[in-house]
């Protein structure tokens, strides 16, 4: 009984593990993927030791396999995240996230005079510009650039 409980928390029979998330954006990742509404088992940890990130976060989602299009959205805040697909307790696929070319409805334009911040119900839309390892977002509407350190998730 006790053993089974431990297993439930630590190992995943089948599902998706998102690893190498910087701790400070863990909840943003949960938010972007809409995991707060998930109905299956989900566990997460934050402030775990990591050689690369210092403190990292990890999310384990049971019996769900978000598609690449959704997973790639988290590249905005966690470009180094690693995805492991688990089936029957085994990692069957490892992948990293790819920065998408367009970002719709996730991020906020940093220009206070932008129509997306003035009118209600305007869905934000950005073209992603890759700029020496940085991600900049160019607003489809006001054409101003929101740079990586100013990216805010709605």
């Amino acid at each position: 009984m006790e053993e089974k409980k431990i297993k439930q928390v630590n190992a995943l029979e089948s599902g998706t593990v998102i690893d190498h998330i910087p701790s400070e954006v863990l909840f943003k990742v949960i938010n972007i993927l809409g995991l707060e509404k998930i109905e299956t088992n989900m566990t997460f940890g934050m402030n775990l030791e990591s050689k690369r990130l210092g403190k990292k976060g990890i999310i384990k989602i049971s019996a769900r396999f978000p598609d690449d299009k959704d997973l790639n959205k988290i590249a905005l805040v966690a470009p180094d995240a690693k995805i492991n697909i688990i089936r029957d307790y085994k990692v069957v696929e490892k992948k990293s996230v790819q920065v998408p070319e367009k970002v719709v409805g996730i991020a906020k334009c940093m220009n206070p005079k932008c129509v997306t911040n003035v009118e209600t119900n305007v869905v934000t839309k950005f073209n992603v510009l890759k700029n020496n390892g940085h991600i900049d977002l160019k607003c489809h509407f006001c054409e101003k650039i929101t740079d990586q350190q100013n990216i805010e998730i709605n």
Partner: protein
């Protein structure tokens, strides 16, 4: 271009620029025609800009079309809190084309995406004003006979001036040399200089307008606004260094023309007005022909 909104100068290609220039030339020769008869153009000016509005309305009237609209947000339903989307959707029922000026950046793009008729952006805050840019291109073409290989001086507020940014983007298609003359605080932003670097276009930056202008084909002057300076003393110290005076034009090229988007304050001295190189008033008239060309293209009449 038919049925397509014009929001940003980058919505048009190099070929489109030339089509507009050729058609503007046609309207300059025949400004009064009845080809817009039965067409209704809505001019929605959410902030006043009399000059731009009159230019559009004159263009429509000369072609026999009708204009409806409002001249500032205070006299419209916007004041009662109507959303931009609802205003546009309603007006689109009454008009074949919407010309819109709005203080909010990106509002014109948004309007074009909710509207069922094409939208022309007549200025959205500090963002874009593409019809100004096209009339500038027409003015340059008309006075130089070409857009290729010109030496263009952009003078004044190069940091916030949307007209100079659009002109820089459009003229970058034609192998220009740019000279930027501005106070340090108002220099051309880096993102535009990087674009020029990528395209391999030469540009030079100056803090003063001196004998360097003797190589210029075009001098495009813009206003320096006091409110752009955090320290008003900086403005007082600088304000007179960027005034173009007639005596400075002595050794300049024969084909040089001086442009300005107007209204002018004092950045071009009135003693330049009588010089044949002054072109800012004809430039404003070119706005009517250029807008006739843009509207008839979008309505599919030409």
């Amino acid at each position: 271009m038919k049925n397509k909104s014009l929001i940003s100068i980058s919505d048009y290609s190099r070929d489109d620029y030339m089509e507009i220039i050729e058609l503007a030339d046609h309207f300059e020769k025949n400004p009064v025609q009845k080809i817009m008869e039965g067409k209704v153009v809505a001019t929605l000016f959410f902030e006043p800009s009399t000059r731009t509005r009159l230019s559009f309305e004159s263009a429509v009237n000369k072609l026999g079309g009708k204009v409806i609209g409002f001249t500032d947000a205070a006299s419209s339903s916007v004041k009662k809190g109507e959303s931009l989307k609802d205003t546009i959707l309603t007006v689109a029922q009454y008009a074949d084309l919407i010309v819109m000026r709005h203080p909010v950046e990106g509002s014109a793009r948004y309007a074009s995406e909710v509207s069922t008729v094409p939208v022309i952006n007549a200025g959205d805050g500090a963002n874009q004003h593409p019809t100004q840019c096209l009339l500038d291109l027409y003015s340059i073409y008309k006075t130089q006979g070409t857009l290729e290989n010109l030496n263009i001086f952009l003078v004044g507020d190069l940091k916030y001036g949307r007209t100079v940014h659009s002109l820089l983007q459009a003229m970058s298609n034609y192998n220009p040399t740019f000279n930027f003359v501005s106070p340090k605080q108002l220099q051309m932003p880096n993102e535009y200089k990087l674009q020029l670097d990528e395209l391999g276009i030469n540009y030079y930056e100056h803090e003063e307008m001196k004998e360097n202008i003797k190589h210029a084909d075009i001098i495009y002057v813009t206003r320096i606004q006091k409110e752009r300076f955090s320290d008003p003393m900086d403005y007082e110290k600088l304000k007179n260094s960027y005034i173009l005076k007639n005596k400075m034009l002595k050794d300049t090229k024969e084909n040089l023309r001086i442009l300005h988007p107007l209204p002018r304050v004092n950045e071009i001295h009135v003693d330049v007005d009588d010089n044949e190189k002054a072109y800012y008033f004809p430039q404003a008239l070119n706005g009517v022909f250029t807008r006739q060309a843009i509207m008839t293209k979008i309505l599919g009449l030409k």
